[in-house]
């Protein structure tokens, strides 16, 4: 303590050198008290597990997860993953799942928000109903849709048969060809309201004066949207798409509850696959190696995510 203040009393300040940093930290010591609880919780539940996962990915452990019996195997776990056929199947599923869910959720949410922007009778109620799927638990949603997709008594199948489109109810989630798109429909059902809320919030920040000015300048509805509204929604759209992409990449519940990854891995995505490797087949080391790979991918996306979220980092106010 004394040494720090002693250094700080040095006559000249050598720019952003070590003593300056320490002094800076010391001067702001009270500020850290505010963030400390958050940081401590995060450290316990994030930093430690990340370290642990990386460590474990180089070992083989007995199914009981008795860690004193673990064996160092180097990069064997990684090699096993990259050479397995399932890996490529699951990766392909993950890409399709993430891409389609994100793009379609965003597009539907965006369009809904625009359609809801104009005031009409019942708008509040309609908006409330449209938001509900986002609020209810994914477990409940999975069961609701599982029942709707039911191969014998499902309501969609019954409607298709009733309309004469199909002879018998289709096997939506029990056949390899249709299972992934069927699950994506469920996922979008739960996620488009999020995009809708975000875009609705963004629409409120579009200045009316600009829209009026554009109107006076003779811009059509479409031109006003394209030249005034849309540029204002760029930031919020970026953030929304990134949040959706991350959430979709990390999905677990819908495929896990509805199909458990089946049939024959057709609806396994990375997360469900890792979960099954770890808790289903007790291959902890391989699962950890998978997690590390996932981690690296996410760090890359994360870089853009944080950049988009903290768009205000440059404007430092004095305080």
């Amino acid at each position: 303590m004394t040494s720090v203040t002693g250094q700080a009393n040095a006559p000249r300040r050598p720019g952003p050198a070590r003593a300056g940093t320490l002094r800076n930290v010391w001067q702001h010591r009270a500020d850290y008290a505010y963030v400390l609880p958050a940081i401590v919780v995060m450290l316990i539940v994030i930093a430690y597990p990340i370290y642990y996962t990386v460590d474990l990915s180089f070992y083989t452990t007995p199914p009981s997860l008795q860690l004193r019996d673990k064996i160092f195997v180097g990069f064997d776990n990684y090699q096993a993953i990259l050479t397995s056929e399932v890996f490529w199947r699951v990766t392909w599923n993950t890409l399709i799942w993430t891409f389609l869910s994100t793009v379609l959720s965003f597009a539907l949410g965006f369009a809904t928000a625009l359609a809801l922007h104009r005031d009409f009778i019942g708008r509040g109620i309609l908006r409330a109903i449209l938001i509900i799927p986002w609020v209810i638990s994914a477990v409940a949603a999975s069961y609701i849709w599982k029942w709707i997709y039911h191969s014998d008594f499902g309501v969609i199948g019954a409607i298709l048969v009733g309309l004469g489109i199909a002879d018998r109810p289709p096997n939506f989630i029990d056949s390899v060809g249709t299972v992934l798109p069927s699950l994506i429909v469920v996922n979008i059902w739960r996620e488009f309201p999020f995009a809708m809320i975000m875009i609705m919030a963004g629409l409120q920040t579009v200045p009316d004066q600009l829209l009026s000015a554009a109107k006076v300048d003779g811009a059509s509805a479409w031109q006003r949207f394209w030249h005034v509204t849309f540029p204002h929604l760029r930031n919020v759209s970026t953030v929304t798409v990134l949040l959706l992409a991350v959430a979709n990449f990390n999905s677990f519940i819908i495929p896990w509850i509805m199909t458990g990854g089946g049939p024959s891995n057709a609806s396994h995505i990375w997360i469900t696959h890792i979960y099954e490797l770890a808790f289903g087949r007790q291959r902890w080391g391989v699962a950890s190696a998978y997690s590390v790979l996932l981690f690296l991918i996410l760090m890359t996306i994360g870089y853009f995510y944080v950049r988009a979220l903290s768009g205000d980092k440059k404007k430092d106010r004095e305080a």
């Binding site: 539940v45 996962t53 638990s137």
Partner: protein
């Protein structure tokens, strides 16, 4: 004369076309959203026999509340379990929410107001948490909780849930604090308040809408969480609703009315909570996240 009237009519027609397109689109979205929920409700008031018919009973011929009665009857073993799960979910979610607010509020305030070294780094680190799926943390956390003796306790869930509520809570609240003029605190400090008093007496009351919004978010997140609960808990009396319902279904594979009733009951608290307080949530998003 005739020319001018058609020239005038044309743009109006185009606007009408847009409006009709919007209405039709909203109608389709309403169908997409509501049909599954309506079907859930209709199924839940059918008997097990009525639910499994071909072609289906579009409207329940003999509506019954039997499934709900079963779930809410503490004398019945199913009901006793369900009420227990419900209670567990309530405790875990409430604790998570309260602790989350206590931790997030000062952190968000500090990130908004103070310029301490490492501020940006720490803020990014907190935001990054949202990047990672539960699964990455599952194995090590399971080992950690086992070591702490927290497996099969709600404490393990509360601590874990805290961390995934925190990033968005901090982010939303920070936006909220960014919009509260710093002069208010300066005035309070000149009026005789310490920095902390200024925060407590002036800023806190002003950020109540933001706090409500983040509280809803934490509560709903905790209420709906599945993976950790599924992994950390295996004693029947400890389960939360999502895991409990899954267990219920794996034992009663054909009781669709019961399952739909349980799904409905499980959704009611969060849906009601959200619908009542949604204006705070949208406001927090607008002020905190969207404006720059």
């Amino acid at each position: 004369m005739a020319e001018t009237s058609t020239a005038r009519a044309r743009p109006r027609k185009r606007v009408d076309r847009w409006r009709w397109a919007g209405r039709i689109f909203l109608g389709l979205m309403l169908l997409y959203t509501a049909v599954p929920m309506v079907w859930m409700l209709l199924t839940s008031i059918k008997s097990g026999f009525a639910a499994m018919q071909l072609p289906p009973q579009w409207w329940p011929a003999e509506p019954t509340l039997a499934s709900y009665q079963k779930l809410l009857d503490p004398q019945n073993s199913v009901g006793a379990d369900f009420l227990h799960f419900f209670w567990n979910s309530l405790i875990v979610s409430t604790l998570t929410t309260i602790l989350g607010v206590i931790v997030a509020v000062p952190a968000a305030y500090a990130f908004s107001r103070f310029r301490f070294p490492g501020r940006n780094f720490l803020f990014f680190a907190v935001l990054l948490r949202n990047m990672f799926p539960a699964v990455i943390f599952l194995v090590p956390l399971f080992i950690l909780m086992r070591w702490l003796g927290l497996v099969n306790s709600h404490g393990s869930l509360v601590v874990t849930y805290l961390t995934f509520g925190l990033p968005l809570s901090i982010w939303l609240l920070k936006g909220f604090y960014d919009n509260i003029p710093i002069q208010l605190e300066q005035a309070a400090r000149i009026d005789g308040a310490t920095r902390f008093q200024a925060f407590l007496k002036i800023v806190m009351p002003l950020s109540v809408p933001g706090i409500i919004a983040t509280a809803i978010y934490s509560f709903i997140g905790a209420w709906n969480e599945y993976i950790y609960a599924y992994t950390f808990l295996n004693r029947n009396d400890q389960l939360t609703l999502p895991v409990g319902i899954q267990r219920f279904f794996s034992e009663n594979t054909t009781d669709f009315p019961g399952l739909m009733a349980a799904s409905f009951m499980m959704s009611v608290p969060v849906v009601v909570l959200f619908l009542v307080l949604q204006k705070y949530f949208v406001r927090a998003l607008t002020e905190g996240a969207v404006k720059h």
